[in-house]
């Protein structure tokens, strides 16, 4: 009788937890679910967006330019929408123009996208909001806000100008309304020159070569933060500091903090060891003056991500529950490693003010 009673309690509890998890997922969906990363292929050619000098004059061009400006100086949104010292361009090289560095032109044509995780179609605007919530540790600008319109316009303009150049289509990039811009480019009704439609399918445009960060092979030995620390000291610290906090000059962190209170939070894609390893192998050290080995890239990604950072915004007071729901991937949230008792237990605040 007693044991029956107990099992009823367990079922009831887990039912309640499950229910609250669903509610929670709807309230704050995981918009940074892992991309299906692809390895680089020999001989791939990448889209090349038009130079910024080709952005047209006028209202539409102004939105594109504002998008660029917000992207490279995201700190102008500090406190309003950004809660750390990062700029978008820290992880998207060449202001979102560079292939294999999560270029905006590839991302734009990949949305709207259906996400299994929250069982809904996410627009480009919603994906951008996810960046603010997690990577920027902030509070996203509202739907159709001028910031989201501008960032969408910049992404669209890069992508469309690149497609037009590739297909040899002359003329200016077709101007879209704000509501169209916010949806993203993976739509049948997306206005596109016929010659582009004829050479590429919707799906091909949604997975342009150079999208995201290229997948690299698994390391020969299991990745290790301990070995990664040595890699960090040898190759990373002159830019990111011996404490990983980057460097500030005149209020600007162009050399960004990699962990701690001013970096991306526990919900950001970059906290996954594999995502960071792909990014690092392809894009670091800056300017590609040196090529880390595959093992070194994995190890240093593990070291950087086995450090405390701002809390996962989906946290509701239970690290283990959150770990079970959102952290079933290659990451250290909730783990005891690298001298930490339980990563996440001393996480820094989400969306703090600069003065905090």
């Amino acid at each position: 009788m007693k044991s029956h009673h107990l099992s009823w309690l367990v079922i009831s509890l887990s039912f309640n937890m499950g229910l609250s998890a669903v509610v929670q997922a709807e309230a704050l969906p995981d918009k940074q679910v892992e991309l299906n990363a692809k390895a680089k292929q020999e001989g791939q050619t990448y889209l090349t967006p038009a130079p910024l000098s080709a952005i047209p004059e006028g209202e539409f061009g102004d939105k594109v330019r504002l998008g660029y400006q917000l992207f490279v100086n995201s700190q102008q949104m500090r406190d309003a929408y950004v809660g750390n010292n990062l700029n978008c361009s820290n992880c998207h090289m060449d202001a979102g123009r560079r292939a294999n560095a999560a270029p905006l032109w590839a991302a734009y044509f990949a949305y709207p996208a259906y996400r299994k995780k929250n069982d809904k179609v996410n627009s480009f605007e919603e994906r951008l909001q996810g960046c603010f919530t997690y990577s920027m540790n902030g509070k996203p600008p509202g739907s159709a806000s001028k910031e989201l319109v501008a960032l969408s316009a910049y992404s669209y303009w890069l992508g469309m100008s690149g497609l037009m150049l590739q297909a040899g289509v002359d003329g200016a990039v077709p101007e879209l309304s704000d509501s169209e811009l916010l949806k993203g480019g993976k739509r049948d009704e997306m206005p596109l020159p016929e010659s582009i439609k004829n050479v590429m399918t919707l799906e091909q445009r949604a997975s342009l070569p150079g999208k995201g960060y290229p997948k690299i092979a698994k390391p020969a030995q299991a990745y290790s933060p301990e070995r990664g620390k040595k890699v960090y000291v040898a190759h990373c610290q002159s830019c990111h500091g011996d404490d990983g906090q980057g460097y500030e000059t005149l209020g600007v962190y162009s050399l960004p903090p990699l962990w701690g209170p001013q970096s991306f939070n526990w919900g950001a894609g970059m906290h996954r060891v594999n995502t960071a390893a792909y990014f690092i192998y392809e894009n670091m050290p800056f300017g590609k003056s040196y090529q880390l080995s595959n093992q070194d890239a994995w190890d240093v990604a593990a070291f950087i991500n086995a450090q405390e950072r701002p809390q996962d915004p989906r946290f509701k007071g239970d690290i283990k529950a959150l770990k079970g729901q959102y952290h079933k991937h290659q990451g250290y949230y909730g783990s005891s490693i690298n001298g930490h008792k339980e990563l996440g237990s001393k996480a820094y605040p989400i969306n703090p003010k600069r003065s905090d």
Binding site: L52, S53, I55, R65, Y68, Q69, L70, F71, V72, N73, Q76, N87, S89, M93, D94, A95, R97, R98, A234, H235, Q237, S238, C239, G241, Y247, E248, T249, L250, V252, S254, L255, P285, F286, G287, K288, S289, Y290
Partner: protein
Amino acid sequence: MSALLMLSTASYAAMPPQAALCGSCHGPQGQGVDPLGPRLAGLPSDYIVKQIKLFQSGKRQNVTMQPMAMTLQGDAIVAVAEYFSAFDVPMVTPHLRGEKAVYKDPTEQLVYQGDWQRVIPACVTCHGPSGHGVGEFPRLAGQQASYIKSQLLAWKEDTRSGDQNGVMATIADKLTSAEIDALAKYFSELK
């Protein structure tokens, strides 16, 4: 007037005896003597320490500076570095990335946006807004043009090294001599 002058110099430490020799080419307050010695004032002291050691080890080559650097040993290295580092240099109103999307001047474009077709990042990414300098990255704003040029050439010719992963050498290798001249002029005029 004289009281003001006294006030403004009183905050600086007395010159360590070992710094006197440096002052003959770099100026007693590290202000630089063109073309004998670059400005040291306002450079991060860690950067100066590192450079003295690089001269001593031969990773950075210069016929004058190598024997000069050898005269500094032990605590004197840090003392001299801190002495020159502490002098104020004029503030430059920083130009922030994103203030402009389009740079008509190709030199400014290199400084603030880089040239990623050649994998050249913007200079200001490491050297800070308007080249103010931070950490191991020296201040470029207001430095002598002749010195900036000679150093970019030294990186190119491998007579200067000691940067982590060869970052600066890799970038300098990609710069044309016209770009080097233009960059040297651009930064020297940021005052």
